[in-house]
Symmetry: D2
Subunit: 379 residues, 4 copies
């Protein structure tokens, strides 16, 4: 099957989100990064493209040139889908123009800076029948997908309560000094829009709520905390939610939950049972009921739904992070090949391999001779 031609806007330099999208697009051998505009500065743009191995012929000066030049290319060679990784305020104009010119879009969240812009994009998307993804990344975890699938199948019965939390503490160290907090872009309405905490992480909690239950929240009541009079954006908020008169829930989000890292947690209670999940331990899904022992569901097993196993590349017991472990070994080898400073033990070397073979032989020898001590001297 021919690969999908992917364009990327933004994500250059040290961008973490850029790394995340590139590694992700590569994971199932289905995309090739065909071109894009990684940086506003053309030279940096080109040198970044070289660094990541993208053909510079389709790395463009700016977004307008991208549209102009790509649309000249015959449809079968043209970039099909574009990942928008630029600052939030650029999501709307870029996504809009991409849709108008027939591209499919993968857009980082938040989709836009206002609801009206979002509606405009939605209307364009329908008109152009485009594929449009908003990267609420946490929905990609196998156990989240299993949860959604099982809820849809009725495993929990009718839902009767939803509790979703997203607690972080990162703003605590910079919020209490008036001079410091002035400098935080997240707290500047011009850059962050009308909300800090809810806009950044509350939306994840909200999307997860609707994504998992398959139900729409009908009304909400919120209480936000700005903590200081000279700060106009929320740092913390509790939102009461109602799906109907008798199906309720609560979304709790905070950036001043001191010491919390990325504490997105989900608890969904139905008449027949409940699921509980925590983003910081994403391979574990708890299933509890009235009358059976709590069970711990993990990916990679036959008892897990296809939708989850389709997103699981390794057998049970291998946390997904094992890709990173192997990636770090490859990095260690790269440093050695390029004579860069490496940490001690950055990749397991020949001696590790040799000792391993010695170990196997001596273990078998000790056992064969009646469980006696044997020495492990390298020759």
């Amino acid at each position: 099957m021919n690969k999908i031609k992917l364009g990327i806007l933004g994500g250059g330099g040290d961008s973490l989100i850029g790394v995340l999208h590139r590694v992700a697009s590569n994971m199932y051998d289905r995309y090739e990064i065909t071109g894009g505009v990684f940086n506003p500065n053309y030279d940096e743009n080109i040198s970044f493209a070289k660094k990541i191995g993208v053909n510079t012929g389709r790395v463009y000066d700016d977004f307008d040139t991208f549209i102009e030049e790509e649309t000249k290319i015959p449809i079968e060679d043209r970039i099909e889908v574009v990942s928008v990784l630029t600052p939030n305020f650029l999501h709307f104009p870029m996504a809009k123009k991409l849709l108008e010119n027939g591209f499919h879009v993968i857009c980082e969240k938040p989709l836009t800076t206002s609801y009206n812009e979002a509606l405009e994009l939605e209307s364009l998307q329908k008109q152009h029948e485009a594929i449009f993804a908003v990267t609420y990344t946490y929905t990609g975890y196998p156990m989240v997908r299993h949860m959604k699938h099982m809820i849809a199948k009725g495993e929990l019965g009718e839902i009767q309560k939803v509790d979703v939390q997203y607690y972080q503490g990162w703003i605590n160290p910079v919020i209490h000094d008036p001079e410091v907090r002035k400098t935080v872009w997240r707290l500047d309405p011009k850059k962050a829009g009308i909300s800090s905490c809810i806009g950044d992480i509350g939306t994840h909690a909200f999307q997860m709520t609707e994504y998992l239950t398959g139900m729409e929240v009908k009304s909400i009541l919120s209480d936000l905390n700005m903590l200081y009079d000279d700060n106009s954006l929320d740092l913390d908020g509790t939102v009461l939610i109602r799906f109907s008169k008798t199906v309720k829930g609560v979304i709790r989000a905070s950036q001043i939950a001191t010491g919390e890292e990325n504490g997105l947690t989900v608890a969904i209670y139905g008449k027949k049972g409940a699921f509980k999940w925590e983003q910081e331990n994403p391979n574990i899904l708890y299933h509890i009921t009235d009358d059976k022992p709590k069970s711990i569901i993990k990916p990679g097993h036959a008892f897990v739904s296809d939708v989850a196993n389709d997103g699981t590349k390794l057998p049970g017991g291998h946390p997904e992070g094992i890709f990173d472990a192997m990636g770090n070994i490859y990095k260690g080898v790269a440093k050695a090949l390029r004579s860069e400073n490496a940490f001690d033990g950055e990749y397991p070397n020949m001696n590790d391999g040799v000792r391993g073979m010695l170990f196997i032989e001596k273990v078998v020898e000790s056992n064969k001779n009646g469980n006696v001590w044997v020495h492990l001297d390298n020759q």
Copy 2:
């Protein structure tokens, strides 16, 4: 910086180890897969190369051709390092010939099928001054590297006890029926060598022991279990180990620990404290001492050593598996673009984005109006 030219032997078709090495090599933008021999069958080899986007010009008929052709290429364009992902018995002949022809090598474990072969490779490697990695993958986890680093710095004081476990249960369903167990290649000495359990996973435990402590095991005493008379290879073993007369430990490995997935655990006790770590929860490192509360060390923080943070791509609280979550979203989009059957919710779509913007605006409105209920109707 120009990328490292990587060749790959094996890892074609549905090979999981192939996926793992490809994703890993891509993670830090330092390698390009230049060529290789992915499958013994030439047609499959070529179609696999196309699938993963490798230039077929340097995909060869077989290993001998690979060596012959690559060595004709000028040194600056030649493949520099080759990943050997073939069945175990091929590791030795391939690695040997690669070293003899001036290639660097990344070799899957076990290094060879005997200690003597391993010694021969080691001698060749020294002679050719080659970089040679053996992919004991678990050493790549940031918390394993932090552990090694802190032990070397003396955080635990003198080591006085080491306990490493590697328990799996995968062989339990196939071991009890005489007809079934005959068919397991791991239990065939011709294919698996002199050991099953110790050779496959005991070596990981052993390597971890020496890797983390920086000490060499001097002698061992083992007790292996073959469970049935008609089975000649070990399924389970306990190995007493000694670093010196008073520094001892134990390595425990099993393939009949029913229900265990990939239970590699490490506990290292020194005079000043101990570290405990579990592969199935790899982002957590426990540090315990005589007189302070137990502490939980996680990657991505300033208090973690450089060697660990160098292998951590995201801020604290984001499990490494988030790459997979994003990868699954990209796969969902790919299915949509190719009109393949997709699961419901395989990527978050426009509506998720629109609802998110609505949510933010309504939350701010409810709060501003004195914490009252507001409706969340899409226009």
Copy 3:
């Protein structure tokens, strides 16, 4: 020191709360159960007194007789403090009369059935200078006390957010059938008062909030769920709380959180750090901060505050439940002594002791002889 003379009202028959108060009163050798009224039925009352080993001379017909007779006894021999374990609606009249007659009181929660009654009791207590405890049991856990103490000492800095949850699922199996839910006394306003969920467990969460922070909640906003029109009492509720304009929190309580057992959890975030605690794992207190590894505080260590260690009877690592473990062994022996049906292994017996001595001797022998196999045959 002479023991405190304790009277008990209620708690007879199979009452669990009775067991809890009796075992608790005995734990530090400071009380003796001198008399009381355990059951409304006199014969049962007396036979229960005999069963638990209370002198029947001061077991009375009813509460009025209790007051009449005890007040005739010279003050130095009179019951000093009375535990009120009767149904909720009796708490007020009994506590009132006890206070009026000069007794100290230990009263189960809820204190009364209305706020006005509670105020009346408070006024009486002040007038009589009585000791009056309300048994919010969870405040007795050593780690809860440590938390309170450390917060008072400023360990967390100024508090900026409080999140307390009390989720149970017990009402789920009996709520969905209209005929069944009619029979649940907790849902009958005549027996349960104006609230089910908040009255029963929300109050625990509220008390914990004020107990731990040392601050008073100033205002609240609640959303309750009755689930069915023919049910008038709350089964679930979220309560927004404010200590001040910028110090906020949320209390969440539910009896329809299907599958939850007794999920009281606490998270208190201050400028300098946070504490997190869960009732179902009460020996663990998490302390998190901006810049240090998460630490796990457990009782019985020198680094724990005196107030916590004063309530810890055993060294670190022995969960408090070990009393129950030993209690079960004593019960096993009692069954044997009374020739009752016992479960196999209900107490460890002579053979266990004998085998233990054999094991020790053989272990030492194997080691002394150079780590060889020795047999473990009983003589």
Copy 4:
């Protein structure tokens, strides 16, 4: 039913084991402490008896007097069973004389100081048909009993591997200084016998192994560590065990596992599944299999065996330690009644009760009025 008359030898003063046995004997209202010898010193003995509320008429000068006087009492009034809580070397002579005089015995572990003494006691016990318990306390946990019961019922199928660990670190702070280690009684062969680590905790692990599996260990091979030449007793040991040629296991015990508290853990693997349990979290039992999600079994549920629920006094979700929580509240009240220094918040008081009632009323009011803010001012 009349209570069992219990005598106690030892356990006076600040003895923790004394507290444990007294509280335990009281838990099910089946024993009364009738007399004993708590201390070698008569005055202390009597004053201790008064403190714990035991009739001093049957508190004796010494053990010989105890035997002499009790045996004069008519059989129906005589002490029936005696708990032996004295130093280890006294277990044998006391238990022996008790058996010879017709008493039943509850004896602390280790049973004796040598296997021969143990055999002598066993023979006496059989001759006198006495009830004799050795208090391996950990067998009293409900989840341990459930495990034993389910294994006996075949839940795990044939056992194929057993792994029991007992790691402590308490000796680490006192072992490395030659002057300090001389003073540790556990390391003095005259006081501790032939073994320190195995004798003290290895025996628990061994007993648990046989108790749970219902099988006898047939042979063992051990490796002990004394760490220093001037120390003759083991501080750490690994013991290979065999139930049969193909059913094996390992017992690991240590007192130099720095930072470990009381780390008794059990893993038992059978053909059909496995159980895993940890003493420091005793209410949790993990059940794992080849093909179902891991399940977490907790006490107090209908799905748990009778033998476990018979030893569980409270509903699911209440950790057994709740007795201690209530005990601490009673202690706080006792301090108040005796005008002793108390910690702040040592018992929840009238104000907690009053605030609770206010909270309930205001929550209901806020909800009724449409989820609005209401104030919580005490009148």
